[in-house]
């Protein structure tokens, strides 16, 4: 390396520091050539020369590569020899080498924060084309740096302890691997996974290229390792909600979503998921209210019947009995309305309405002809009476004539067994001998 000439030493200052409380700053200025990066445009020697004249500057030098070891030694030696209290390096961006020079200054026993840098490369040589003006600017930058350096005060760097635990966010193959490595190194790991299981995408893959080994086969052992590792705390179905703090001291809040299954108690016997009947997305809907087509008048009629009995699901059959009498059958909207008022589900109402023979879901005729087919009546020829009536009315049991005049029903016993065969028209009881049914009904037709 070429030996640089020394800039003239300025007098004074050196002794003052040892005596006075207010020490005059003693600043060294180092101008870097950066090879030719700076020197081709900026007259670095001149810069150093002029810098040597600035107040408080006790030494000013140039060197081809300040960042090199010899460059740094230059600074350390000067500090020792000239008892510098501050250093200005005129070189590149502090982003690049500020840590380098701070370390050098610190090594020589000066607080690293008593260093300032003038960026005469990015802010000067690289962007200017006139050497003289560039040199002028470099001198200005150095002057400003020296001025600031004269006012710098030492700062203390602090060290903080590091919590020996790590948080791994995401339990796919990368997260599992990272967690395992950290755990193996002896540190506790919180492995947080949003899904109910770790494994991530890799678990879904079939074979892996190009070796065609089975993805799950190589992944699942790792998953199990992660879950069993004493240093790994698994938090599945969990998310990181908040993180505060800084390196070594992060405070994280995890949200563990309700799984509803106790991780400790569950034996994964599989009965729960084998028994859960849901297979589609339940589509919740508004409760069914009053049937739209039900008239105000019908509501009044039905309300009156319900009021007679009371609002109690157990009274459904009793209420339907009266609805059936009121309408001569059970209109669908009436059933829906009663169901709504009593809070009974459609399935129950419908089953009840279709189960009991007292109820009819179809409109019935003005006159209801019931033929008793009880045993006593059967033994005395009720079937013949029924057939006669079927022929006469042209309908079968349970049917209604087209003109809505008659509904023909069979009843399993009317409790007038001594009189069989018995036919009831509306509420009149008739003991009917086979062959007489025609005549019996004829009386109603003329009436």
């Amino acid at each position: 390396m070429a030996k640089e000439e020394r800039a003239p030493e300025t007098e004074g200052g050196a002794n003052a520091s040892e005596q006075g409380e207010v020490r005059e700053p003693r600043i060294g200025v180092y101008v870097c050539h950066c090879g030719i990066n700076i020197a081709y445009m900026v007259d670095v020697r001149k810069v150093a020369e002029v810098a040597g004249t600035f107040p408080n500057v006790v030494v000013a030098r140039t060197y081809p590569y300040m960042c090199s070891d010899p460059g740094q030694s230059l600074i350390r030696d000067d500090i020792e020899k000239s008892d510098l209290t501050g250093v200005v390096v005129a070189a590149c961006s502090p982003r690049m080498h500020e840590p380098t020079f701070r370390a050098a200054v610190s090594d020589a026993g000066v607080n690293p924060y008593l260093l300032d840098m003038a960026n005469i490369r990015e802010q000067c040589s690289w962007i200017h084309e006139e050497p003289e003006a560039a040199t002028e600017k470099a001198i200005d930058l150095v002057r400003a740096a020296v001025a600031r350096a004269s006012h710098l005060s030492p700062l203390v760097e602090r060290e903080v302890p590091v919590t020996p635990e790590s948080l791994v966010v995401g339990g796919g193959i990368a997260g599992i691997q990272a967690a395992l490595d950290i755990a193996e190194a002896g540190y506790r790991v919180h492995l947080v996974e949003k899904e109910p299981t770790i494994g991530g995408r890799m678990a879904q893959l079939d074979k892996t290229f190009p070796t065609l080994d089975c993805s799950a086969c190589i992944l699942t052992p790792r998953m199990v390792d992660a879950s069993r590792h004493p240093n790994i705390e698994l938090a599945t179905y969990s998310e990181v909600k908040e993180v505060e703090g800084y390196i070594g001291n992060f405070n994280a809040t995890l949200t563990r979503k309700a799984r509803y299954v106790d991780l400790e108690k569950c034996t994964n016997c599989g009965l729960c998921y084998a028994s859960c009947p849901v297979r589609n997305v339940p589509q919740l809907r508004e409760p069914v209210g009053i049937p739209r087509d039900l008239s105000e008048k019908d509501r009044t009629r039905l309300d009156a019947i319900i009021a007679d009995h009371g609002i109690d699901a157990e009274l459904l059959i009793q209420i339907l009995q009266d609805v059936n009498i009121e309408y001569n059958y059970l209109p669908v909207d009436a059933l829906k309305y009663v169901a709504f008022r009593l809070g009974v589900r459609p399935a129950t109402v419908y089953h009840v309405a279709s189960f009991y023979t007292a109820f009819s879901l179809e409109p019935r005729g003005r006159k209801i002809v019931k033929v008793c087919t009880g045993t006593a009546c059967h033994a005395r020829g009720a079937v013949r009476v029924l057939e006669e009536l079927e022929r006469r009315l042209g309908i079968g049991p349970g049917e209604t004539t087209e003109d809505m005049a008659y509904t023909l029903l069979t009843v399993n016993c009317l409790g007038c067994c001594a009189l069989g065969p018995v036919v009831v028209v509306d509420n009149d009881y008739h003991s009917v001998v086979p062959g007489d049914a025609d005549a019996m009904l004829a009386r109603y037709e003329t009436a």
Binding site: Q318, A358, T375, A376, E388, N412, C416, A418
Partner: protein
Amino acid sequence: MRHVKDIADLERARREIMKGRDPDARVVAICCGTGCIACGGLTVADAFRSEVDSRALASKVRVLTTGCHGFCERGPLVVVQPAGILYQQVKPDDVAEIVETSVEGDDLVERLLYVDSASGEKIVREEDVPFYKHQTRLILGRNGALDPTSVEDYVAIGGYGSLAKALDAMTPDEIVATVKASGLRGRGGGGFSTGRKWESCLKAPGDVRYLICNADEGDPGAYMDRSILEGNPHSVLEGMVIGAFALGVTDGYIYVREEYPLAVANFTRALDDARAAGLLGVNILGTGFSFDVAVARGGGAFVCGESTALMASIEGLPGEPRPKHIHTVERGLRQRPTVLNNVETWANVPLIVDKGAEWFAAIGTEGSKGTKIFSLVGKVNNTGLVEVPMGITLREIIDDIGGGIRGGHSFKAVQTGGPSGGCISEDLLDLPVDFDRLAEAGSMMGSGGMIVMDDRNCMVDIAKYFVGFLKDESCGKCTPCREGLRQMHAILTDITEGRGEERHLDELEYISWGLEQTALCQLGSTAQNPVLTTLRYFRDEYRAHIEEKRCPAGVCKALVTYSVVADACTGCTVCAKKCPSDAIEGEPKKVHGIVQDKCIKCGICYEVCKFDAIAID
């Protein structure tokens, strides 16, 4: 009736009622049971009222419309008290004569008296009529003495005295012990000891218990419960209140068939009257004991005779039975301990409390105590409700009370126990009527239906009838009942329509076994009884249908042809007029003939011919 303050006050109230009545007054009791109403009982009663009014006899004569007297065959029935004269088949036109002769006067209207078919003698008094003479009418007997809509009438004959006795002089445990000691067994069909049932219910854990009266008389061919409810509702209610006190129950239910409107009306009236009189509701007879009864009208389902189905129905649900490995006395209505007894059983309770267990136990046989009401119907002369002591033979009932088979035909079978019962043949007629003996014969007591069949009844048809009935009445919940009965019915239909095969009999027995072993409730597990008993006693008839394609009774249409017996035909033309398919031809006063192609085998000609000139082959 006025409100009764306490137990002693009941007797005072009764005396007040009696004081208002002239002990010498004549009473005309007109039977207005459903049977007599069907024959015009109500118009007869109206006629009596206007006749008495027009003769200004109102103060001296009481026209009483009563419940069923039992002798429905001869309705409308009228009894003139205190003489006890029975007039039968009374028409409104007869009323004036009766009032004049027997009410105002002391004579008889001879033509309306009952004529004994055996001796040809006229019988005056009701109690001397053979139909009544052989009965022991402990329960039904009171029907004729009171107006069912009058609580005073019931109190006047000592009604609610048993309740007073129970509340006053007995502890609940004593009542249960008395009922148990009496040997009373459930009259609804099962024949389970009532006392033991009550005892189990008391022992079952839980503070809330229920009590139910089963009045869902579903057995076709039986109507005694109806007659009791219609004719004497307070007797049932009194039994229930006594039971409630014994069992510590505050809520009771009566489950009545909707098809029994009069029973519903009379019982509801009885509840209102009893409540007003302080015999029901809060603080009964001033003792602090409270109990009330709600009426649930059944929707018409035979299966609701099954206790769990009945309870489901009271809960507003379809009448579907549930498994009852744990009995309903422990887990019944709303899963609480529940005592369920039928109408007749409840009606027996006041009698037992009144007269004591020993008195009751003295009636009947070793295992079956007291009386039983039967609905004696079918092909006997005297149909109606009969109440007899347990142990009487079937023959006594059918011949002595029923007056034998009508129309000169011969006895073939008697069906007892409803659809779950069986058909009993002639050689078993001397069987004493008793829960256990009937069961041994393959039938059962059931609720008391007794349908008499003659030689014109086809037993295969009867089996098919019952299976068809049960198939329709099955709730359809369990496979054997729903599907087994359907298959059984299909096989029986095949047999009656000429498609019978030898293997069918084995299949019927196989299904019978399956039903008995696997059906969920009694409806299914006893449904095979009509088939098994007819197979047992009348196998020949099955064989005739299968092997000879012949219906010996001439019932199964597909297997019969109708023809005119030329010797007997008078050419009266009735058959030709009645024939719905114009299949009978012939000129008046000349022998008619049947055009077989046109004949639809409706059997009307056979029914209407007064000369037995229609033959069935």
